[in-house]
């Protein structure tokens, strides 16, 4: 075991195995060791981040009872953002879906949201989903992406929340 201790009578000096680090021939070895540890730590962290073993911090936004967390993904030179949708109910946070694409909240009803899952992919859960917070459940409404990724593109909700009009898939051929 090694021990660091202050020696009475030798103020400001740290003794390592009975030898002072203040001695000139000990300083370079300690400095190089510390630098090596720092470089290894940075390189290891970078490797873990780029390989996706650990993920960078998230940020979140609240929209009414909903919360969207944005997880930055950075690996192998590719960058992206993964969004996760939560619903706050009874002071608890419920997970609705991960890897969410376009999201449209109903401005007339804060408990309703339409969102897209796994854009540009095929699967049983991929497509447009509707979540009704009042019934605390959601379901898939369409296989195709009928809402645009653009945040500014509006959608029109019916008064009874049964329908939604969207401008998606509008192509203009001149």
């Amino acid at each position: 075991m090694t021990a660091l201790k202050r020696v009475p009578g030798r103020r400001g000096q740290i003794v390592f195995h009975g030898m002072s680090l203040s001695r000139p021939y000990h300083r370079p070895r300690a400095i190089f060791a510390a630098l090596g540890v720092a470089v290894c730590a940075v390189a290891g962290y970078w490797t873990l981040v780029t390989t996706g073993v650990i993920q960078s911090p998230t940020r979140s936004e609240r929209v009414g009872p909903f919360e969207v967390t944005f997880q930055s993904l950075d690996g192998y030179g590719l960058r992206g953002t993964s969004r996760t949708l939560y619903y706050h109910h009874s002071s608890r946070r419920h997970l609705i879906a991960r890897s969410v694409g376009a999201i449209r909240f109903n401005p007339k009803d804060p408990g309703s949201v339409v969102f897209e899952r796994c854009a540009n992919s095929e699967g049983p859960d991929c497509g447009i989903h509707y979540f009704d917070g009042h019934r605390n459940r959601g379901w898939k409404v369409n296989d195709e992406p009928v809402i645009d990724q653009s945040v500014t593109e509006p959608v029109s909700w019916s008064t009874d929340k049964r329908f939604m009009g969207s401008l998606a898939s509008f192509t203009c051929s001149s």
Binding site: V114, S156, D160, M164, G165, L167, F170, T171, S174
Partner: protein, 126 residues
């Protein structure tokens, strides 16, 4: 343009109904009727090709949410329906749209002759 049914799986593509793929046309989402059975769409076309595109002919169309059928109401020129106004009116047969001129607007509202306007679909000519 899509009409998504949020209760039962089923989406109606209205692009063909509104002939959105023909020519340089654009569409704006309108308002839903109070009973949520119909909603309006504004299908427009620029009358001039030079910015700032002030001359716009814009059709006011009522779409049925059940079957996606479209009913033409009127066309607003030269500045589109932003310069005019319309509102939902309750009739014995359900809600219908009445189009009116906006204040201080010297434009014109007219209907296209080739469209059928069913009874109850009222509009006012200047």
């Amino acid at each position: 343009m899509q009409l998504v049914n949020l209760e039962t799986p089923g989406t109606i593509d209205l692009s063909e109904t509104l002939a959105l793929n023909e020519g340089e046309r654009f569409v704006r989402l309108g308002e839903w009727s109070p009973d949520s059975r119909k909603f309006t769409a504004l299908v427009g076309q620029y009358s001039d090709r030079v910015p700032p595109f002030e001359n716009i002919a814009e059709d006011l169309v009522v779409l049925d949410a059940q079957d996606g059928s479209a009913t033409y109401i009127a066309t607003a020129v030269p500045r589109g329906w932003r310069a005019f106004s319309y509102r939902w009116l309750m009739t014995p047969n359900g809600y219908t749209v009445r189009a009116t001129l906006g204040r201080g607007i010297d434009g014109m509202v007219f209907r296209k002759a080739e469209y059928e306007v069913p009874p109850g679909m009222g509009y006012q000519l200047p």
